[in-house]
């Protein structure tokens, strides 16, 4: 049975099915079918990633595409990310302060530990999860719509590889802008955390702004996560968009899958990068 792959033509929704004699699959066959689908999906995703890297170096430059995507992914996410990370910063510091009060009623290291947590993990991971919902969904919906309206087929008829034309500009822009946005969002979360610590626990800003626990390892791990998440969001969501089939319902599914799969990818990447970080920078 043929299956379509990303960048290939979509499943035709307008074709009258001609059923053959076909018994419904049993549970083992269904499980096996799902496992094969998962394997094929992973293989195609890897293929999309490798082709994205290839075209990032050797692809055809589309005038203005990169800067447009920088604006779409970066500038348009600033407000959303600032608000969410600002509130998350307040919640984190408030809850941490309450816990600290029960165990060691001393807030002198509250700012330092919070900053380490932000730099090493939370700013990048929570920020990227937020971006996955806004940017990932947008990419999947846009590319998915292009698939169902045959625009992707039209690209291929003009010798334009959809990966090169659609995913590469988003990939480059996302790697840069995700890093910039996360640094910004982390700063916002830190500042709102400082304000919360001052109001709720009377921790002076001079005490809260403490960088004693930050070292090269924290910054390296944090940056590695920014780059990995920035790369993962457009590749995973672009893949979901390209594998859209059907009509508007298919675009809806592609968008949902993009958010779910990108979030999963971020969490799995977080685990592996954190583990590598603790092995490389054990201190």
């Amino acid at each position: 049975m043929a299956t379509t792959s990303p960048g290939q033509a979509s499943h035709p929704a307008d074709v009258d099915p001609v059923p053959e004699a076909h018994a419904p699959p049993g549970p083992v066959a269904a499980l096996g079918g799902s496992a094969i689908d998962l394997f094929l999906g992973g293989k195609e995703l890897l293929s999309v990633f490798i082709r994205t890297l290839y075209y990032s170096v050797r692809g055809k430059r589309e005038k203005g595409a990169f800067t447009t995507q920088m604006y779409e992914i970066g500038n348009k996410s600033v407000f959303f990310l600032s608000i969410t990370m600002g509130f998350i910063g307040m919640i984190l510091v408030y809850q941490s302060g309450l816990q600290a009060k029960r165990v060691v009623p001393d807030y002198t290291m509250l700012g330092a530990t919070y900053l380490e947590l932000l730099v090493r993990d939370f700013a990048a991971s929570i920020g990227a999860l937020m971006l996955a919902t806004r940017v990932g969904a947008g990419i999947a919906a846009e590319i998915g719509s292009m698939v169902v309206t045959e625009q992707v087929d039209a690209l291929r008829m003009c010798a334009a590889d959809p990966i090169d034309f659609l995913i590469v500009p988003r990939f480059k822009a996302s790697v840069i802008m995700t890093t910039v946005l996360i640094v910004w969002a982390g700063t916002v979360a830190y500042l709102t955390g400082a304000a919360t610590a001052y109001v709720a626990f009377d921790v002076a800003p001079q005490t809260f702004f403490n960088m004693a626990l930050i070292d090269v390892g924290d910054v390296s791990v944090g940056l590695a996560k920014c780059l990995a998440y920035g790369a993962a969001i457009p590749v995973v969501s672009g893949y979901c968009g390209l594998s859209t089939f059907g009509g508007s319902e298919g675009v809806g599914w592609a968008t949902t899958r993009a958010v779910v799969n990108t979030s999963l990818t971020i969490i799995i990447l977080n685990f592996f990068i954190s583990t590598a970080g603790f092995l490389i920078f054990p201190g």
């Binding site: 009258d16 076909h22 079918g33």
Partner: protein, 256 residues
């Protein structure tokens, strides 16, 4: 002596896996078709009979499960993506939904194949875009976005884009859908004139049979994934095959 076919489809079948693990949907069944050079071939049939799928297979946008598709002797089904990109230089294609790029202007849409496939100077590209737009009665529309056009105008932009490279093989999927009768007739005549001018080989899918059959050399009819008729336009018009007769003459009584 007849020239070898430019397009040869042999024993092509295709099925799609149904959503939810149901029975597979067979969309093409053992289709055999030959189109000689310079022929304008009309592909007709009720909706969902596999016409658009077949057009996409000719360009390698879809692969059949079995069978072979040869374009000027080269088997499309065995080609990799790079070979397919070279093959597509020979094609112009109008998609059923026009497939205009939403983010590009009308001018940029029409120029897109020229810019991607050929390295032409900017002024030459602009000249050819203006000439194409004049042919489809849309002069001055270069700067408009597709979102601001009517369905008929979009179709005409699609026609302009499909024909701008003067490709030797052109596939039209519903070139007259959404057009008024006068514009529709003009488009068919324009396409016929251009096809003759460069001796292009064309396959045209259209539901507007009254006009389509005035320009075609040969006609094929598809029904439920099968090519049930293949003959000259005159043979199609005089066919006694009940399904062909009913469809060509638009009869309400019959097997369809």
């Amino acid at each position: 002596m007849t020239s070898p076919p430019v397009i040869r489809v042999a024993g092509v079948s295709k099925a799609f896996r149904a959503a939810g693990g149901g029975p597979p949907a067979r969309v093409l069944k053992d289709v055999n078709l030959s189109v000689p050079k310079g022929c304008l071939y009309g592909l007709i049939g009720p909706g969902a009979s596999g016409k658009s799928i077949l057009l996409k297979m000719l360009t390698g946008l879809m692969k059949p499960d079995v069978g072979s598709i040869e374009i000027e002797g080269a088997d499309v089904t065995r080609m990799g993506e790079l070979d397919l990109q070279k093959l597509r230089l020979k094609f112009g294609m109008l998609f059923q939904n026009n497939a205009l790029f939403d983010h590009l202007t009308v001018g940029a849409n029409i120029a897109f194949p020229l810019q991607r496939l050929f390295s032409l100077p900017k002024d030459e590209v602009e000249r050819r875009v203006a000439e194409r737009l004049a042919c489809v009665a849309l002069s001055g529309f270069e700067g408009r976005l597709p979102g601001g056009l009517s369905g008929g105008q979009k179709k005409r932009v699609g026609v302009a884009r499909a024909t701008i490279t003067n490709a030797p093989i052109v596939l039209y999927d519903e070139p007259a859908a959404g057009l008024d009768p006068v514009t529709s007739q003009k488009i068919f005549e324009l396409l016929r004139k251009e096809q003759r001018a460069i001796d292009a080989t064309c396959i045209m899918v259209s539901s507007d049979l009254d006009r389509l059959l005035t320009v075609t050399d040969r006609v094929g009819m598809m029904y439920r994934g099968e090519l049930i008729f293949d003959g000259s336009t005159h043979e199609a018009q005089t066919s006694t095959e009940p399904r062909v007769r009913q469809f060509v003459h638009g009869l309400t009584e019959g097997p369809l």
